[in-house]
Assembly symmetry: C2
Homo-oligomer: 101 residues x 2
């Protein structure tokens, strides 16, 4: 089966960040930086966020200030789970072939 709509790394990181709890963009950025030492620029971050929202994998919650908190949707959770499993399948074969597993 051919894979459609393959979201790459920044999107994946965002979804994983939201898998823990709802967060706004800036907080997502900090979470990713803290956990992986990867710093996403604003263009990369908010660009990916809006694509994920358009895809229905995350959704905005209303807020009083200018923060825009997002949460992972049901679909997003399913999608993320599938993605991760698929990726783990790939990496585990990789490790095996590298002789590291």
């Amino acid at each position: 089966m051919v894979k459609k709509n393959r979201f790459s790394e920044p999107s994946l990181l965002i979804l994983i960040s939201l898998a823990e709890k709802k967060r706004h963009g800036y907080a997502i950025m900090e979470d990713i930086e803290k956990n992986y030492d990867i710093k996403l620029g604003p263009g990369t971050l908010y660009g990916a966020i809006s694509r994920l929202e358009k895809a229905g994998y995350i959704s905005v919650l209303e807020s009083q200030d200018r923060k825009k908190p997002y949460k992972l949707t049901e679909e997003g959770q399913i999608y993320l789970t599938e993605q991760i499993k698929e990726i783990q399948k790939v990496t585990s074969l990789g490790m095996k072939r590298l002789g590291l597993a």
Copy 2:
């Protein structure tokens, strides 16, 4: 440490394919399809191959027929190992946050 290189999934699959043994393009394609059920079109495949070659992660070996076999270089092996470990770090946090680990 900001991530520079942008090799995404197809490139990773190719490197993993070559981690097992040397293969030419078409054989790489078949290997990937067999193992992951992911079919790369020729543009995707050969495009990624030439970028990987340019980056020094794979290199061509000479051949008698029209096949062009590639092998993983030393650098490619190092790069692939790093990448996989990084990705595993990401996915394992993902699984944890999804409550699946």
